[in-house]
């Protein structure tokens, strides 16, 4: 008997970023709770989309309890959402970029037309370099307390050994990101400083991201709803994320096959890009990503200043998606790539391709 072939799936409704807001990212926000940090950002993004609190069909957030040492801290952020009557809500213990991914899937199912996605990070509450060591394999790595700068430095040295970069090149990357951040009022570091002393050699102060507190939010909408909410929606043409093994010693730290695979599946190589917002907390990681993504020389990279200008951990990746979308909203780009990362040395990578409607 012939196998029944499934009915052809209906073409999914296109999904777009229609609004983006972020806080001013600062070294510390000692006076604010999670809800107080998020409230103005959520109000801003909902106002842009014309939504009232609690009105989005789906809400998804990204954050990590480890940053501030508060169990279930994401539940406190719901105070700022307007969660009653009960809203359809989810949370990922990851960067908000992955919350956006979940919301995108939700909209594709047709069960929601609009989604609020938000993320916050209060990295200042703890010692971020040590906190991030707790995400490592608990058997072989975490007992050694290798901090986030140390692991990035191992990657940077591997790149230098491979001839992919050198310290002067890294200094230029640091300076360029902080210099362009002058035009970004939300950024924390908005001028190029000295390269600085070694933090963990070969990485110097300027090669490392600032420690930042901050929050960000986007609204996603599907099809005609998106067109109603924004005259130039930033359509998500493709989005995918891929992860590599957790053991550093089995990876080629000079390459990012997970970024490349995600970019292929997101359609990043199908047509030229205007700009790329890369989530590269360390200068050396921008080298890896540019290589993996084979970015053409005329692609504007991180016009926001990127993670080197502001790094509210757990929101930094979502901000890359928001910044890329905002350029499309403003008509400054037509086809943009946004990238988010998670884990040590670019272990887990998400790539999205955003497009405006053709003129």
């Amino acid at each position: 008997m012939a196998a029944l072939s499934p009915a052809p799936a209906p073409a999914p409704v296109p999904v777009a970023v229609v609004a983006f807001a972020q806080s001013d990212h600062r070294r510390a926000t000692p006076g604010t709770s999670e809800a107080e940090l998020l409230l103005p950002v959520l109000r801003d993004v909902l106002d842009q989309a014309g939504l009232a609190p609690g009105e989005a069909d789906f809400t998804c957030s990204g954050s990590s309890d480890y940053l501030a040492g508060r169990p279930f801290s994401f539940t406190l952020t719901l105070d700022a959402v307007g969660a009653w009557p009960p809203v359809a809500e989810s949370h990922v213990e990851m960067d908000g970029a992955w919350a956006l991914y979940e919301a995108w899937v939700k909209l594709l199912t047709g069960e929601a037309d609009t989604a609020l996605v938000y993320a916050h990070g209060t990295s200042s509450a703890g010692s971020l370099r040590d906190v991030l060591s707790r995400q490592l394999d608990p058997y072989y790595a975490a007992p050694l307390w290798p901090d986030s700068v140390a692991l990035a430095a191992l990657q940077a040295q591997a790149l230098i050994d491979a001839g992919d970069t050198d310290e002067d090149d890294l200094a230029r990357i640091a300076a360029r990101n902080r210099t362009v951040a002058r035009a970004n009022p939300h950024a924390q570091l908005r001028a190029a400083g000295p390269h600085g002393d070694y933090v963990v050699r070969p990485l110097r102060t300027a090669d490392c991201p600032p420690v930042s507190d901050g929050a960000a939010a986007v609204v996603l909408a599907a099809g005609d709803t998106a067109r109603r909410m924004h005259e130039r929606p930033a359509w998500i043409r493709g989005i995918d994320h891929r992860v590599e093994p957790h053991a550093l010693g089995v990876r080629d730290l000079t390459d990012s096959p997970s970024t490349r695979r995600a970019a292929e599946r997101a359609g990043a190589y199908d047509a030229p890009l205007d700009l790329a917002e890369l989530h590269a907390p360390f200068t050396s990681q921008e080298v890896v990503l540019r290589k993996a993504l084979r970015l053409a020389d005329d692609v504007r990279v991180n016009p926001s200043g990127g993670a080197l200008a502001a790094n509210p951990v757990m929101a930094t990746g979502l901000i890359r998606l928001g910044e890329a979308a905002a350029r499309i909203h403003r008509g400054e780009a037509r086809r943009a790539l946004a990238h988010a990362t998670s884990g040590p040395c670019l272990q887990h990578n998400l790539v999205a391709v955003l497009e405006g409607d053709s003129a």
């Binding site: 700022a80 007992p143 307390w145 191992l154 050699r201 010693g249």
Partner: protein, 314 residues
């Protein structure tokens, strides 16, 4: 008083993990000064070993013994060691491919300075004097001139008294910040007054306030003093003594709606037998000399509040 409060917050946890057959053999091997890897189906030797091939997800069980000498594949000089790291003096983080292995192990290298370290450097394991079956049984690596030895020996992974679990103590130090609204609330509490904040949309008074109305998702505005008296909305009888809590069981823990508040807060009820506590009981706070909040609540002797007055707060 400061316009925002902060307090130190220390989070400690003994991260306790059981070990599968491969990790157990590897960590027990370290205790016995033996380094084991695992061979993949395509012949590569992974050190440290894992139970499943990171490329194919094949289950891996074929253990081999590799060398205790190896080659640095990348390094990073750490001028300022941090708490918990393998060495207290400046050292190099290294990935080391042990002789016979195809992958690299993360650890520390004891070297006099960065000029003494380079990729390709030959090193050997320095064993810890006291070994328990943990990655820290390798105290660190040290530079060591030797030629590469690529032979591996099959190993059955069997040891007397194998290690079956690890406990990794972790400590993280934080600064806790309650935020603006809770700071205002705590400052008022210091004067033995309970102050909530009103939602401009639904007009309910949140106690304690956290800056946003949890129902409406908007910032709370007007400050409103509530209580001191209130009504028990619901309660439970606690029969299990909490470690470190100097309160005899049984005792009653209740939700208490302070007069003027639209959210109930938590408090202990005393001054009345447990079996006489009831919904609607009217209570008032009892402060101790230096307590930052009421020690407990006791009956006021007023008639019970009618159910309709608090049913919206259950």
């Amino acid at each position: 008083m400061p316009d925002h409060l902060t307090a130190p917050l220390v989070v400690e946890f003994p991260f306790t993990r059981s070990l599968g057959p491969v990790q157990s053999a590897f960590l027990t091997g370290l205790r016995e000064r033996t380094v084991l890897g695992v061979r993949t189906h395509d012949g590569r030797v992974l050190v440290p070993p894992v139970e499943y091939d990171p490329d194919t997800a094949d289950e891996l069980r074929g253990l081999v013994e590799v060398g205790t000498t190896g080659t640095v594949t990348t390094w990073a000089w750490n001028p300022a060691p941090r708490r918990g790291q393998p060495l207290g003096t400046p050292f190099a983080w290294v990935l080391v491919r042990l002789d016979g292995a195809d992958t690299a192990l993360l650890h520390a290298l004891d070297a006099p300075g960065p000029e003494a370290v380079h990729t390709g450097l030959r090193v050997r394991v320095r064993w810890a004097e006291r070994r328990t079956g943990a990655i820290t049984d390798i105290a660190c690596f040290e530079p060591h001139d030797s030629t590469t030895r690529t032979q591996t020996r099959p190993h059955d992974g069997a040891f007397v008294d194998p290690v079956t679990g690890i406990t990794t103590p972790a400590r993280l130090d934080y600064t806790y910040t309650p935020g603006r609204a809770q700071t205002r609330h705590l400052h008022a509490l210091a004067r033995r007054r309970t102050v909530g904040e009103r939602c401009p949309a639904c007009h309910k008074v949140c106690v304690p306030p956290r800056g946003a109305c949890p129902t409406c998702g908007v910032a709370t505005t007007d400050r409103v003093e509530v209580g001191p008296r209130g009504t028990v909305t619901t309660f439970c009888v606690v029969n299990i003594k909490a470690r470190g809590l100097p309160i005899d069981v049984p005792y009653v823990y209740a939700h208490i709606a302070l007069d003027g508040a639209d959210l109930a807060l938590h408090g202990r009820i005393a001054g009345i037998p447990c079996n006489e506590v009831r919904m609607g009981l009217r209570v008032e706070p009892v402060w101790t000399d230096d307590g930052p909040y009421p020690d407990h609540y006791r009956p006021t002797g007023e008639p019970d509040a009618p159910y309709d007055t608090y049913k919206g707060m259950l």
